[in-house]
Amino acid sequence: MKLNSLAKLGGVALLSAVVLAGCGSKSSQSGSKKQTLTWTTPSNIATMDTSTMTDLYSAQTANATNQGLLQMAPGNKVKPGVAKSYTVSKDGKTWTFNLRKSNWSNGDPVTAKDFVFAWQRTVKPKTASQYAYIFANIKNAAKINAGKMALSKMGVKAEGNYKLVVSLNKPQSYFKFMVAQPEFFPQNSKVVNKYGSKYATNAKRNVYNGPFLLKGWNGTNDTWKLVKNSKYWDAKAVKMQTINFQAVKDPSTSLNGYQSGKFDYTTLNGTQVKQYKNDKDYKVNKEASTFYLELNEKKDPIFKNKNIRKAISYAIDRSQFVNKVLADGSQAPKGYVPDAMSERNGKDFADQAYVKSGVSYNLAQAKKYWAKGLQETGKKSVSLNLLSDDTDGAKKSTEFIQSQLTKLPGFKVTNQNLPFKTRLSRSQNGQFDMVISAWIADYPDPSNFLDLFTSTNSYNNGKWKNAQYDALIKKSENQDANNEAARWNDMVQAEKILMNDQGVVPLYQQALSTLQKSKVKGVQFYPTSPQYGWQNAYIK
């Protein structure tokens, strides 16, 4: 397709050359369809250095070009990656990974030392990684990161070239998910040292051990491509030859490009969804992320009153919100922890911990609780602001929530939509009355969400406190950490407390509405980062 349109245009020599080169390698394929597709992302790659990476789209690319010990698999599971197997000690604190023999794209072998090097590099204070915290449970990592201990003391050791031993502070059953994330990928010390601070700032100053090689990325441009890596250990399973990427920042431009046949994939916003709901290319992917309302109990003591919190939750018609306002495939939440993320014995966490009153709409009830709450706090009317981001979705949300809450007698709400980072620092400094926050899972485990509402967590912006909740979370992290059933139960109880007490007001669980050409098969969607995987994709 690309070749076609370019030929029509008389195209630029450079681009044609690139495309022709792509075609050349394809001819070796035995008569099947051209294994190439064009994908869009809303943002460009910020860096390919897995130590300093912070955004989803960089992580997505890194996940396609590199591989960690394990890799994410459908159904929120993991499957072997560079490690062919692993064992966990009885106390759950020592993880031993047995690595397979595999190679970097420059021919060097991928060894356990590459992992040690990479992890140490991320934790090293000088790297200034914004993701160093994710290593906190690895022995001594936090101290090293704070500059208080030597790098070599970190709890990750290479025993020979193909065995990696990791020591944890506390047992962590979800550590298996973490090692599949880009922060835990190996780095080739030779290449890193060769380029120094320029490492991974463009496609050439890097080396790859994953299914694809990154090409044509100059560090700041909006187009790049993934090309099959013939040195990847499982290369025979990779069918795609080339995946062209294009960063398209305007959603309507992206859709226009899809319609004109230029792209094979695009995301849709609410209005666009309405037009494509019945299209065969239409797909909704549910993400492991929850949007919720936090009430600032420290600044506004009125929110210390449980009836007031309940009134607010009851006043919000979530199904109208997701179906009529957002209308982008997002769904009404079952609770604070998103559903379809983690399950045990076939039961979804969100279903097990479901508390109906915490997420349902009932204006009559809301008014009742509201009146009761006002009486208890001795107030007649309340005037508060509602803080959120200034994105389209966030503006829709604040306008909707505002209109819902003002149905409570004597409640006046003013909206404040600020740029993301300004909003963040305001929520963290407690400069708000009500704020719409979102949490997106780093790894598919409820603890990733529940940790936030312990009374000392810095992301507990509303400063909701509950001793019982704290105790349960603590128990799940310590004495029950190595007992899967007990830990699960602790977390379910904690979520129930959170919902019954309305410590947080869940608003919706986000979904990604997309169009994907039906000829494109096998693209894997993960509810958590990195969202997409292409190594099993093919064109039919």
């Binding site: 349109s5 370019l6 245009l9 008389g10 195209g11 630029v12 681009l15 910020a46 860096t47 250095d49 300093t52 990476m53 912070t54 955004d55 204070p125 000088k126 790297t127 200034a128 914004q130 993701y131 160093a132 915290y133 990161n145 704070a146 500059g147 320029k198 490492y199 991974a200 700032t201 560090g219 700041t220 441009n221 909006d222 187009t223 294009q246 960063a247 398209v248 920042k249 305007d250 309507s252 431009t253 992206s254 226009n256 490009g257 319609q259 004109s260 230029k262 792209f263 740029p419 993301f420 980072k421 300004t422 909003r423 963040l424 620092s425 305001r426 963290q428 780093d442 810095s458 992301y459």
Partner: protein, 309 residues
């Protein structure tokens, strides 16, 4: 001339100094932090990272470090693209912006000149009215509306031009058209006024009296003399193009610098904002200097001197 140039360059340097100072301190007052991942960091870790970027030093020290960097063309490291030098970021994304900006400017000015002179020559006829309507319409439609319309109708419906990509001349057509609208309108209005003035001046009357043909008069006398003042509006037009490119690049997916500026603003990427502000300012200064010199060279009545008057 040398003295004049020296003086102008001194003022450019002074301007750039003031601009970098103001931007630097404005950035310090800016709410929020530049960290992309702040939501998941503790204050201790944030402090650690600030230290790495030198943001923990007193403001005046940061300022001096920054100024020293600017002198060497080093604007620091971008916060969005980790380890990517801002100067590289600007350099690598400048090309497409210059292409569509340049094309838009040339197209706009040329067509504007034609429309404007037609209006003047055929003053108070339907041609004049049409020319006026076109020029007023084009200043009255925001560039992003025009861009959306162009993309939808010419790109998607009629399929005349490819959209949502970059590479090759055809991809530049729609963004160029969207950018050309404003300079076209401005030039046409300016040209019409100038030309009407010139056409009623004594030397044109004289040429008429001598029996010169209409075409000859317009081409040899009127056009040339009205062209000179056009140079003076090149500066303001450049500013228009810069503004326009910020939205047009976003809509047409042009990997340019204007779109990057907007993105930096929305992500608190201070080094990039500061770097781009200085670069925008420097570009404008140079354009103004060149137009002034050109003006002096072309119009003998104006002599460049060190004097203000």
């Amino acid at each position: 001339m040398v003295k004049y140039l020296g003086k102008r360059i001194f003022y450019i340097v002074l301007t750039l100094f003031i601009v970098s100072t103001i931007t630097f301190f404005l950035m310090k007052f800016m709410p929020g932090t530049p960290l992309t991942n702040q939501a998941k960091l503790t204050p201790g870790q944030i402090h650690q990272i600030y230290k790495q970027y030198g943001l923990d030093k007193p403001v005046w020290q940061q300022y001096l470090v920054y100024l020293a960097g600017v002198v060497h063309g080093n604007f620091g490291i971008s916060f969005q693209f980790s380890n990517q030098a801002v100067s590289y970021l600007i350099g690598s994304r400048m090309g497409p912006s210059l292409i569509i900006g340049g094309q838009g400017m040339v197209l706009g000015v040329l067509v504007g000149l034609v429309v404007g002179s037609l209006g003047a020559v055929k003053a108070n006829t339907w041609i004049d009215t049409t020319a006026t309507i076109v020029s007023i319409l084009f200043v009255s439609i925001p560039s992003f509306v025009l861009a959306v319309l162009l993309q939808y109708y010419l790109g998607l419906k009629l399929r005349w031009f490819p959209i949502a990509d970059w590479g090759g001349f055809m991809y530049t057509v729609l963004p160029t058209l969207a950018l050309a609208a404003s300079p076209l309108a401005e030039t046409a209005r300016f040209m019409r006024t100038e030309m009407v003035d010139v056409l009623s001046s004594d030397y044109i009357e004289l040429a008429k009296a001598k029996g010169l043909g209409k075409v000859g008069i317009i081409y040899h006398h009127a056009l040339r003399n009205s062209l000179i003042p056009i140079i003076t509006i090149i500066g303001p037009l450049t500013v228009n193009i810069m503004t326009g490119s910020m939205v047009v690049e976003n809509i047409f997916s042009v990997p340019g610098i204007g779109e990057q500026f907007v993105k930096s603003v929305l992500t608190n990427d201070y080094p990039t904002i500061m770097g781009l502000t200085i670069v925008y300012c420097a570009m404008l200064c140079v354009v103004l200097l060149i137009t002034d010199i050109l003006y002096g060279l072309i119009d003998p009545r104006i002599r460049l001197s060190g004097n203000n008057n």
